[in-house]
Amino acid sequence: MNDHGDETLERLLSEARAAPPAMPRGMLARLEAQALTVQPRAALWRRMVDSIGGWAGLGGLVTATVVGFWIGVAPPDGIATQVDLLLGDDVTMPVLMGAGWDFDEG
């Protein structure tokens, strides 16, 4: 075997290892698009959960819903007062009685 041939080969292999063939411009993007095109779609419930921020987002949403419902059913004292301040107290207006339309038959 030729020593120069061995040495030349080792140097060529070393250089080739250091500079592997690079993919043409845009090829990686095309391959990504291809991968996504044939990718199985996630189930509908999974996509909905992902769209609100995954399991953490879903947890927050459920907590907020439960707390809101609970406040509606049994509002704490402080909150009831604030609502009264905002909307005012219930008022019963005896409109019909006051107009004198409640006359006796006869």
């Binding site: 060529l12 080739a16 991968a35």
Partner: protein, 194 residues
């Protein structure tokens, strides 16, 4: 980490990513593409010596991986080993077809440093590629996987579906043939005055 532990970790990681891919996780699709496609392309380009053919082979190999993903068995080979095997077979098919039709394959474009360095690099690249092109396909596969892609003999044996001893013999014969082909080109390739 031992080699076996490392191999198992990679296999598990490939399997987990493929599971995520099948579940519709787009990030997994991107991660797998970025990790695997450049290696597939490099191997195909060195085997075929042609960028367009290498791109076609890479697209086909990656497409086969995506189609295989729903049935991927986590206990089987690493995804990269499986892909190298698919790539090796696709390249062999192309080489056979090109030989049968007598098709000429243009050279790969080289990355470009300065003008003189470019010429020298291109000459060296061409000399190695020309020598590789003259090896029988199996020897070429083995030499490229061992000495350019840097894979171990056990993984190459799995890719080429042969015994480790046969891989060692193939790479040794391949290197010997390459040395003989490159003998006498040392000065021509600019190695004598460095």
């Amino acid at each position: 980490m031992t080699i076996n532990a490392e191999t198992k970790a990679r296999r598990d990681s490939d399997a987990a990513l493929l599971q995520r891919y099948v579940a519709g996780d787009e990030a997994a699709a991107r991660l797998l593409t970025h990790a695997l496609a450049p290696r597939v392309y490099a191997h195909a380009a060195r085997m075929l010596g042609n960028a367009a053919e290498a791109e076609d082979v890479t697209q086909e190999a990656m497409m086969r991986l995506w189609k295989k993903a729903p049935d991927w068995d986590g206990a089987q080979a690493q995804a990269s080993t499986w892909l190298y095997r698919v790539t090796a077979n696709l390249c062999t098919d192309r080489l056979r077809r090109n030989r049968d039709t007598g098709a000429e394959m243009p050279d790969l474009a080289d990355p470009a440093p300065g003008p003189e360095a470019l010429l020298q690099d291109a000459a060296r690249h061409d000399a190695l590629q020309a020598a590789l092109d003259r090896l029988p396909a199996r020897q070429r596969q083995a030499v490229i996987l061992r000495h350019l892609s840097g894979l171990g003999n056990a993984q190459i044996a799995e890719i080429l579906e042969m015994r480790v001893e046969a891989v060692e013999s193939l790479t040794a014969r391949g290197k010997k043939a390459l040395s003989a082909l490159l003998a006498g080109q040392r000065e021509e390739l600019g190695f004598s005055d460095e």
